[in-house]
Subunit: 197 residues, 4 copies
DNA sequence: TTTTAACCGAGACGGTACGTCACGTCTTGTG
DNA sequence: CACAAGACGTGACGTACCGTCTCGGTTAAAA
């Protein structure tokens, strides 16, 4: 990631921030493939040398930039049932991926395959978000007696992004309300109930 | 895909084959991003013009090249149980993805995000393979009475590549025997049984 | 110099000419050190790649450009005496070096030290010019009986540029009419007469 | 040359020496064009700022560095004749220029064209050396009666470096014993004798 | 048999972006 | 203040591919 540095003039923190900001903006606007170091430099009002002094190449820059880009979302509201809550939170996530950030996210996904670092960063980010978003849902479901404490929550945290991601970016099939409902009814609920026994 | 052509000297079929062969080889060796048309031309002993006469760009070429690259595998042998068969067929697939073709596949995955055409081709290829590979397994399971005819087979055909793909290429977590067994026990079997009622 | 080329699309001669023309113009305007390949490309309306396809680097380009840049000057008029003719032709040359081309020539001189190729080219150019310019003068001097046929002409052809060059560009002493006259009287004439015996 | 400085901590003299030493070494090793301030700083174990505090730029530094680099050579031994002495002293000079210092000297020559200051320094240095080297020779020649007191010594002091320099660095012709002998016989001796009358 | 239109190789061409280098200036902390 | 270290904006470098465009020569179907 960012290179080491000990003595001498310290790096201007603001440059790094400006660079990453510019990188994320461009990522959103034109997609990873069309992000240019020169464009990043121009937008951040920074010289190319300053970028290359800190990052080995474009991939490394974007990886870091994304790391500081938070995928924060508010947790879903209570719909009264596990089924409803799951449908709600998944639909919401799908919506956000279809939104303006779609291009950004698709670009990052593409990159993640090549760049292990970015993949890790991205994964942690996604996992963190998912855990937070689903945590309250499962707690409520346990309180309601829909599932037991033994239910394998983390299994769901893996299934959801896997399927959404594959369907959206790989098989390019539509991810509509109907699909989400079927996915919850036919996969998530059975899996949770099975591990609740 | 390949462009039209009317009168005059017909195209030399062998060129197209050589080009696609070279493209696939390079894809395997250096990954999609580092495949260059110039390298393909050089390896196929063909001029760049000949390539551009047939394909619009790199993506189109690779998409076609991959189309002719078969992901054929022999169906799994009978282990005596649905669980065993599933574990067997999934493990086998994981193995092949970890092998020399891993780089190739990763490249294609990356590409699929950008190139809708390739995504379709790839998806059909995967789906076709999966259907063929799992078909016999499900038939045997029904014969044994492990699942009913109503069991949602296609659900499994979506879950398997989704999870394998995400875990291998996105979250970069290991996909070992233990994981496959848990996946079958905690997800696939429950889903199949749930839809068998 | 220019690289070889056999089959394939032939190089567009006009490009080479335009490039060399632009190079010489810039050489004149800003001096060798400030000539930029990018500027040459822009002025010649040519891509950088086209320049680098033909020349290894800036030095090689300028060397060639200069080669095709003729230092042609009309021979001096007859003043009636060897002394007068020599003073005339040398003064004229000095004038031209002090003129707008001074920057160009100084730049080339500087370059010649580093670039053997350019030095040769430059030297031939200078020698050729000098030979042509002095030839008629010596013939007339022989006709007048001022020197014999045995007089070592080529000695003079070496002395003149050596001294002019050194004085102008190395010791930065003024090269005025008085100096030229003294040089002719105290060096050139004695040398010619000595070898005329 | 070196910038002014009034109050505060006095400059560390040793730095300046180390810098000039490093500059001269590099000049010798890689030639003027490839000397970089950064390399000088590194070799002198000094920061770039320290160099720029003392010199305006590379040219100024090298000019100063060279100033402190003495071109001292012992005067030639007595061969018994003006001709022999001249050949001897010129040959010796040529030898030294062909030696390891050739690169250094060529670099300086190149620089002199651009940098008037250096040219002056260099010229004085050369002139001083030449005067010293030739002084004894002329005195002996006068004592022998080969030339008169009126002989224009300074003319020779100009001719020698002019011709040597031009031939070595401009026309890249060999400067061997034969050439030196011819130069002395056909130019220097005639010029001296002519002015001795 | 002769056209004739497209094929084919080689590679030039105008571009765009790359990652590197050195410049000369500026900004730290330490003595 | 001097000094070492090194970040910074600038600007040119030479390289790599892109996708397009000539060339000269070939090849098979249509005239």
């Amino acid at each position: 990631m960012t290179f080491a540095q000990c003595v001498g003039r310290p790096r201007d923190k603001s440059r790094g921030v400006a660079i990453e900001k510019a990188a994320v903006e461009l990522l959103r606007e034109v997609g990873y493939e069309h992000v240019t170091i020169e464009a990043v430099a121009a937008r951040a009002q920074v010289s190319k040398a300053t970028i290359y002094r800190r990052w080995k190449n474009k991939a490394a820059l974007v990886a870091d930039a994304v790391h500081h880009y938070a995928f924060c979302k508010a947790p879903a509201t209570d719909t009264g049932s596990l089924r409803g809550d799951l449908i709600e939170v998944i639909s919401e996530k799908v919506m956000s991926m279809k939104s303006a950030d779609g291009q950004l996210i698709a670009g990052l996904m593409a990159m993640a395959r090549t760049d292990g670092n970015l993949a890790d960063v991205l994964n942690q980010s996604i996992a963190g978000y998912a855990t937070a978003a689903h945590s309250a849902i499962f707690d409520r479901a346990i309180a309601r007696g829909e599932i037991s404490k033994e239910a394998k929550r983390d299994l769901i945290l893996q299934l959801v992004p896997s399927v959404i991601n594959f369907r959206m970016f790989m098989s390019h099939q539509s991810v509509n309300r109907k699909f989400v409902e079927n996915f919850v009814d036919d996969v998530l609920i059975p899996v949770l109930q099975h591990s609740s026994k």
